[in-house]
């Protein structure tokens, strides 16, 4: 079983190798990289390419590790006991299975995506050490051991908001997705918009990379924003000439709202354009 990119996802050779190593050894793969470089997409694409079901677990700041295993719904049980429901005598009725449990008991091998693990509490990764290492856990309420039938492939993404504990890192493979260079970017765009006019694409990439150079932007536009922007440009049918601004007059690129996602950035950018006009 090997992953070799897919028709709508461009993977660099080193990324493919990291994925294949994780597949071969059935170890978790930790993916980091700038926002919008396709970290979450990767798990989806690998699942599609290998034909395995994907189980997603999106992490929030309030997510607990336990929720991925199971939850004991004590409140329902308390309520049922008040109402004299018969189900109340079996505690198993109030155990809700989490993502990992579902993956562990699945008949075939599954892919688990633990998305944005850095959003959770610092202790979160530590609480999953044994579960990810041995692929098993114990349910105290019903005294049963849940063990994975087939070790699932685990993809973990992180945006580097918090550092992860060493013990956790030692158990993973790691890959950092670099921001694509112009060439890779061209391939990515080709994959998403096969019919895009070459001239338009060239101008758009030029504008895009120049915009990334603007100092002081809160959030630099990333690949996913570029794709959105191109979609808009195509929909509006904007001619390539409209993007070219080099010497004649400086203009704000059309539909720049798709690239710059916050007021201050847009404001800063417009100010810079205004200043550039003044200097001429």
């Amino acid at each position: 079983m090997r992953f070799a990119g897919s028709s709508n996802y461009v993977a660099t050779p080193d990324l493919m190798l990291a994925v294949n190593a994780a597949i071969a050894l059935e170890r978790p793969l930790l993916i980091k990289g700038e926002p919008g470089t396709g970290k979450t997409m990767l798990a989806e694409e690998v699942a599609a390419a290998l034909g395995l079901p994907l189980m997603q677990w999106h992490i929030k700041s309030t997510t607990k590790a336990q929720q991925g295993l199971y939850e004991y719904d004590a409140v329902s049980r308390l309520r049922d006991s008040q109402l004299g429901d018969g189900r109340v005598h079996d505690i198993a009725n109030y155990i809700l299975k989490g993502v990992l449990w579902q993956a562990f008991e699945a008949e075939e091998q599954t892919i688990i995506l633990i998305d944005e693990i850095d959003k959770a509490d610092i202790e979160f990764p530590n609480d999953l050490l044994r579960e990810l290492d041995r692929m098993e856990f114990y349910v105290y309420e019903t005294r049963q051991l849940i063990k994975a039938r087939r070790r699932p492939l685990v993809f973990i993404t992180s945006n580097n908001e918090k550092e992860l504990p060493d013990a956790f890192l030692r158990r993973c493979f790691f890959h950092y997705i670099k921001f694509p260079d112009k060439e890779t970017m061209q391939r990515i765009v080709d994959v998403h918009f096969p019919g895009i006019k070459q001239a338009l694409l060239k101008e758009a990439l030029q504008v895009f990379f120049e915009l990334r150079e603007v100092p002081g932007l809160k959030k630099k536009p990333s690949t996913s924003e570029l794709l959105d922007w191109l979609k808009l440009l195509l929909a509006e049918d904007i001619p390539p000439e409209a993007l070219r601004s080099q010497d004649r007059k400086v203009t704000v690129p059309p539909l720049h709202g798709a690239l710059l996602k916050n007021e201050q950035d847009v404001h800063l950018f417009e100010r810079l354009v205004f200043m550039a006009k003044q200097n001429r």
Partner: protein
């Protein structure tokens, strides 16, 4: 097999562990890769290196091992100009030092300009020309109380006013984990567990109490979950006289990173001026105007400055006093601006507290900070955190 390679990485101070090494061997045995060095490079990196900030170090170590590529000198250190290299250091007696009268700032600059024009050749010793090991106010390795430093290492008396070289400082890395436990304990004081926000978790004790009060009729109580909402803006002094303290700073830095919800850090050199930077290797290419930083981060951030505040008083009080470039406004103005924006602020100083009164610049900064300067020790941190939480 490959044990030498593993030990080589270890010797290059990369945080690799035996378990990860065994994983690598396992992957090789499973024939994940064919016989290609490029593939081995990627595989070993994925197995052994778990942080992109170590990629660069790994690249150099890998290259060094497999191709015998010599690590280029000058990657880490800038070579000073030949005639400035410290060949000998002339040791002056305290009386001799005292004999050197202090020249004023303007006079010093004027003289330097003059002599730079006059001088053509390498000079060593003596007391007028620029060179090494002398007692002229110019050159390096010398002992004039307000000397101007040109190239090379400072002789250790730390009063050089102008550093005429673009030094590349090592980036602070936050990998120092050992021994930071105690600092973490102190930093935890800064977390304020405010119970506010939406009701999220079942308050079991409250539910039992209220249900009992209702004579057994269920009354469910919810309570907001605790979370850390402290925001911190961290400014770290780097280079120059801070080199001695860099280890302490690294520990502090590594401790801080995992402790707060929002932690933004910037580097400065000696005193804050118009610009700060994030990545020390690209400090000249990618700098952030301090105005923008202040504009971007609101006044709910708490400001922590870390620096030894040991410099020439000119660097704080005089426009153009920066050792790096021509600053239009003095550091004191910028510092005051920062304090105005961030009312909750402290300065942490790695120098022992008992030495503070002997350094003029520390006194000045302490005055500007309104005495909110604390030593970088556990006890000092406690006091600083208490101050921030007031």
């Amino acid at each position: 097999m490959l044990i030498d390679f593993f030990l080589h990485l270890k010797a290059a101070k990369l945080p690799v562990s035996t378990k990860e090494f065994l994983t690598l061997l396992e992957a090789l045995q499973a024939r994940v890769i064919s016989h290609s060095l490029d593939e081995f490079y990627v595989l070993s990196r994925a197995c052994l290196i778990k942080d992109e900030s170590n990629y660069d170090k790994f690249d150099r170590a890998f290259g060094g091992y497999f191709k015998g590529v010599t690590e280029l000198p000058g990657l880490d250190a800038e070579i000073p100009e030949d005639w400035l290299r410290a060949m000998a250091k002339k040791h002056l007696t305290p009386e001799e030092k005292a004999k050197l009268e202090k020249l004023g700032w303007d006079k010093l600059m004027e003289q330097l300009k003059q002599r730079l024009e006059e001088q053509k050749e390498r000079h060593q010793g003596g007391s007028k020309w620029i060179g090494t090991g002398g007692s002229s106010p110019f050159g390096n390795g010398g002992f004039h109380p307000e000397g101007i430093r040109i190239g090379g290492q400072s002789a250790g008396n730390r009063s050089a006013i102008k550093v005429w070289e673009q030094r590349e400082f090592k980036n602070l890395d936050d990998t120092v984990e050992l021994g930071t436990r105690n600092i973490k304990v102190a930093l935890r004081r800064l977390r304020r567990f405010a119970r506010e926000g939406a009701a999220e978790e079942l308050d079991l004790d409250g539910t039992i109490r209220d249900t009992a009060q209702n004579a057994g009729w269920l009354d469910i109580k919810m309570r907001p979950e605790r979370h850390n909402k402290i925001k911190v803006l961290l400014f770290l002094d780097i280079g120059g006289s801070m080199d001695d303290h860099i280890r302490l700073c690294e520990e502090m830095f590594s401790a801080a990173k995992s402790e707060f919800k929002h932690l933004e850090y910037f580097y400065f050199h000696n005193c804050v001026y118009d610009y700060v930077w994030r990545d020390n290797r690209r400090r000249h290419a990618e700098r952030f105007p301090l105005h923008d930083v202040m504009h971007k981060y609101g006044d709910d951030y708490k400001l922590i400055m870390v620096g030894d505040a040991t410099m020439s008083p000119y660097e704080i009080l005089q426009a153009g006093g920066s050792v790096e470039y021509m600053n239009e406004e003095p550091g004191a103005t910028w510092l005051a601006r920062l304090l105005e924006r961030y009312p909750k602020a402290v300065w942490l100083n790695p120098e022992p507290e008992r030495l503070w009164e002997y350094r003029h610049s520390i006194q000045i900064i302490r005055d500007i900070m309104g005495s909110r300067m604390f030593p970088l020790s556990l006890e000092g941190l406690e006091r600083a955190m208490r101050q921030l939480n007031k």
